[in-house]
C-alpha cells in the first residue's frame, strides 16, 4: 500500500507507511492533527483540507467543482488544495506529500 507523508499544521512530518482509503480516512485512522472528517467523507464539513505538494499536483489531479465551491470559502486555500475525502489513495500516489491546512 502507498506511503503518504502529511505535514501537520505545527510543521511536524508524519509518514503513513501503508495508507488506505482517502487522504481523509487515512489521516483520521492514524489520529493526525488537523483533519477531522466529521461528515464521514462526503465533502460537507470541510475539515479535511489538504494542500498537495506541487510536484504531485498533476498526478493527484485538480479539485472537483464540489471541492472548488467549498475551498472558495477558505482563505487558506492554495492552487493545489483538495478536500482530502475526495482523493482516493491509489498505488500511483506512493510517496505523496501533502500539507494539512486544518481549520
Amino acid at each position: 500500500m502507498p506511503k503518504v507523508t502529511y505535514i501537520l499544521p505545527d510543521g511536524q512530518s508524519v509518514v503513513i507507511e501503508r495508507a488506505e482509503g482517502s487522504l481523509m480516512s487515512a489521516a483520521v485512522d492514524n489520529h493526525l492533527t488537523g483533519i477531522d472528517g466529521d461528515c464521514g467523507g462526503v465533502g460537507s464539513c470541510g475539515t479535511c483540507h489538504v494542500s498537495i505538494n506541487p510536484a504531485w499536483a498533476d498526478r493527484v489531479g485538480p479539485a472537483t467543482d464540489v471541492e472548488k465551491d467549498m475551498l472558495e470559502c477558505d482563505a487558506a486555500a492554495t492552487t493545489t488544495s483538495r478536500l482530502g475525502c475526495q482523493v482516493e489513495i491509489t498505488p500511483e500516489l506512493d510517496g505523496l506529500v501533502v500539507r494539512v491546512v486544518g481549520r
Binding site: G40, G41, G43, S44, M70
Partner: protein, 380 residues
Amino acid sequence: MSDHQDPFRESRTHSGLQLVHCDGEAIPLVLRLQDVRKAANDWKTFSSDHPFKVILHSEENVRSVRQLPIEIDPPEHTEYRKLVEPLFRKPNEVAYQAKIASLVNQMVADAIKSDTVEAVNEFALPLQSRALTHLLGMPESEADIWIGWGLHVFHHSDNSEAKGAALDRYVELQFSRAEKEPGDDFFSILNNADFRGRKLSFEEKAGFASVTFAGGRDTIISTVSSIIVYLGKHPEALEFLRADETRFSTATEEFVRYVSPLTAISRTCPVATTVADSPIEAGTRVALCWPSANRDERAFRDPDEVVLDRKPNPHVGFGFGPHNCLGAPHARLIIRSLLKSLCDQVQCIKLLAAKPLMETESSYTRQVGYESVQVRFIGK
C-alpha cells in the same frame, strides 16, 4: 419521502432570494448553496451580534440572555466556542460511541416489544434527551425532566413565556448545584471556565445553556422521526443499508440534507452589501435558508430524492463557517447509531399514521418534521 417538499425552488431559480415578513421586518431568505456558504463564512458582512434574533422571530419574550456562542461575532465568538468545543466533540471518542450505541440499542429493543409506538413523543424525544444527558455529563435520569418540556424548550406551545421561564429556573438551579458539587458536567465546566482571565458571568453561562437546550432538540427529534417514517415507507432501505455499513454514514448526511429541520438562521448586515445580485441595505437582517441550499439543483443531482449513498453530499444541514453546529458530532452519532441498531434488530417498520409538523411564515409553508408518528417495529 415526498412529504418534505421544497417551497423555495422557484425563488431560488429566479432570484436567489425570497422575502419573509416577520414582526414588521422584511427579511430576505438567502436560498442558493454558494450564497449561503459565502454569507455564513463572512461574519463581518453578515454579523451574528444580535441578541435574541438568531432565528427569524425575535426570542426576547422567551429568554433574557444572549445565546452563546451563536449570537456573537469573532473574536469573542471564537474564544467562547473554545470553552465548550471539547465537550461537544466527545461523540468522536470510541468509548462514548459505545455508550450511545448501548442506549440506542436498548431503546430500539424496547420499541420492538411495544405493540405500537408514537415515534415522536415516545421514541425520538426520549432518545434526544437521554443522549443529551451523556453529552452533558449528567445522570440519564435527568432526561425525565427534559422530556417533560416537550418538543421545543420555548416554542410549539400556547405559553412560550412560561416555558422559557421554566428553563431559566432549571438552568439557575443546575449552575448552583454544580457550584456546590463540582464535577465534569456541562454546568461545572462553565462554572470553572476561564474567559480572558476571569470567570464567566451568570448571563454568559446561561447563554451557553440556552442554546444547548434549545438547539439540538426539535432538530434531532424531527430528523429521527422523519427517518422512521422514511424507513416505514421504504422497507427496501433497511436491506440497502445492511448491505454496506459505510452507508450508515452517507445515509446520516443524506437525511440531514433532506429533512433540514431548521429553516433559517439570521444575520444582520452592518454595512450595505449584495446577495444574489440584489442590494441589501445596511442594518437589514437576512436569513440563511439551509433547506433551500440543500436542494440547490446546481449542487445536488435529483435534490428532491433521498439517495442513501449520495457522494459527494456537500450539504449545509449543520450550517457552515465559524458558527457551524456545535452539536453536529452528537447528532451524527445518534443518527448513525440509530440506523445501525434498526438494521441489526428490526426486520421492518410498519407505518400506521403520520401527521406532519408544518412551519408557516408569510411567504412559505414547509414541513420541518412530524407532530406524531404511529409505527410498529417488527423485530427480526
